[in-house]
């Protein structure tokens, strides 16, 4: 990692590059799109993304009294859960948003597609919003802080709701040209990104087809769709969304960062390492979120595995000394955070 990563601009290197003529008055621009029509459209899509998997999950559990999921359905659920969540944490987050390692084109493409299948927004939009989160953590401009929204202080419950998913319904749209220009101008990534709807659909069709073929019956296609498609989506959504909500609320804070990010070893299992979130805010350009051997970081393990077989190079990570140094300079009682 670069040696000045202590005072690391977090994402400024990417964002600055994205605004070549920031001082040029002709390119004066905002970080958000202030347009009510767009916000309404955005809210409708976000509502669908949140509500549809939730209702379908409920249906899956009720239906299970009559038609339980097959073993195949549950295996497909598990595989797709891990694959799409890797797409988000190893792909959207560590590779595309923070550029914390380099990957060969087929792996970049695969991670981009898998991340899209997770239905957490398009790749470019996800990255733009996430960079905004780092740039303005816990301040005005942070899209999903549990403490503040649009200049207003949030109560604990409001904050939990807003940071977990409420933000998708009421925050203003991120200007992707300002925050993710590097991806918009990448032809392969732009093409995959612009087929977002197709990938989401494929993520539903694949488990339905496998379930149907394995059972040799339409009921198998239905349980396949429900469990491998919607239940998987529901679980992966909420596991990942905790990195905006509880990961800024509950857990330990070994590093003093300008935000209130926390580490949470229990949640790091289902979200494949995302919950080492205080580590991440302390060292945002590190590809590895687990900084000690006991901090289980499946996303980081995946990236290192890919390095072993030559698909990944230039993994950025802080040295032992940098970690020790930052910890020593952190207020020793950054301690345990519960709001």
């Amino acid at each position: 990692m670069d040696q000045n990563s202590d005072t690391e601009p977090v994402v400024a290197d990417v964002v600055d590059d994205a605004v070549p003529n920031a001082t040029d008055a002709r390119f004066k621009r905002n970080i958000i799109i202030d347009n009510p029509t767009i916000q309404r459209a955005q809210k409708r899509i976000a509502t669908l993304i949140i509500v549809v998997p939730a209702i379908a999950t409920l249906m899956a559990f009720v239906l299970a009294f009559w038609i339980p999921p097959s073993v195949t359905d549950l295996v497909v659920l598990a595989i797709m859960y891990v694959a799409t969540t890797l797409g988000v944490t190893a792909g959207f987050h560590r590779l595309f948003a923070h550029r914390s390692y380099k990957a060969v084109a087929p792996l970049r493409a695969a991670l981009a597609i898998l991340g899209c299948m997770s239905a957490q927004g398009t790749l470019v939009y996800w990255v733009a919003t996430h960079r905004r989160h780092h740039q303005f953590s816990e301040g005005e401009g942070d899209p999903h802080s549990p403490y503040t929204n649009d200049g207003k202080t949030l109560s604990k419950l409001q904050g939990l709701w807003h940071s977990h998913l409420g933000w998708m319904l009421d925050s203003q749209m991120t200007n992707t040209v300002m925050f993710a220009k590097d991806l918009i101008r990448d032809p392969l990534i732009a093409r995959i990104n612009n087929l977002y709807g197709l990938w989401v659909l494929l993520g539903l069709v694949i488990p339905a087809v496998i379930g149907g073929l394995a059972a040799g019956a339409w009921s198998g296609a239905l349980t396949g769709l429900l469990w491998g498609g919607f239940v998987r989506m529901f679980l992966a959504h909420h596991a990942m969304w905790t990195s905006g909500s509880t990961a800024h609320i509950i857990g330990t804070r070994p590093f003093a960062t300008k935000d209130k990010s926390t580490n949470n070893g229990l949640l790091a299992i289902p979200n494949l390492g995302e919950a080492w979130h205080n580590n991440h805010h302390a060292f945002p350009s590190s590809a590895l979120f687990g900084l000690h051997w006991w901090q289980i970081d499946i996303g980081g393990l995946f990236i290192r595995g890919c390095e072993k077989v030559g698909l990944v190079t230039d993994i950025r990570k802080p040295s032992r000394e940098m970690i020790a140094d930052k910890m020593a300079r952190s207020d020793s009682h950054t301690g345990f955070g519960v709001w």
Binding site: R26, R29, V177
Partner: protein, 90 residues
Amino acid sequence: MQHEIIESVTRVQAWMVSYLGNLLDIPHENVDVTLAFDQYGLDSAATVAFTSDLGHWLETKLDSRLMVDHNSIQAVSSYVGEAFGTAVPA
């Protein structure tokens, strides 16, 4: 009057060419003003951002469907140049 409109259209077009050239990191002379925005790989979020930034430059709010209804730099600049006339910044 006709002359002023042509001037405005030209100014809007120059701004848009410059913006898209910077966004995609291509030389401005290689920006094809007749090419549809999606051919450039812009998704709806990017064209909405483009529209919003154009609106900031013009110091107004533009319809978010502007670049859907007018799907190239040429189409947008003739529409905007005519609609705003001398209000287009130099």
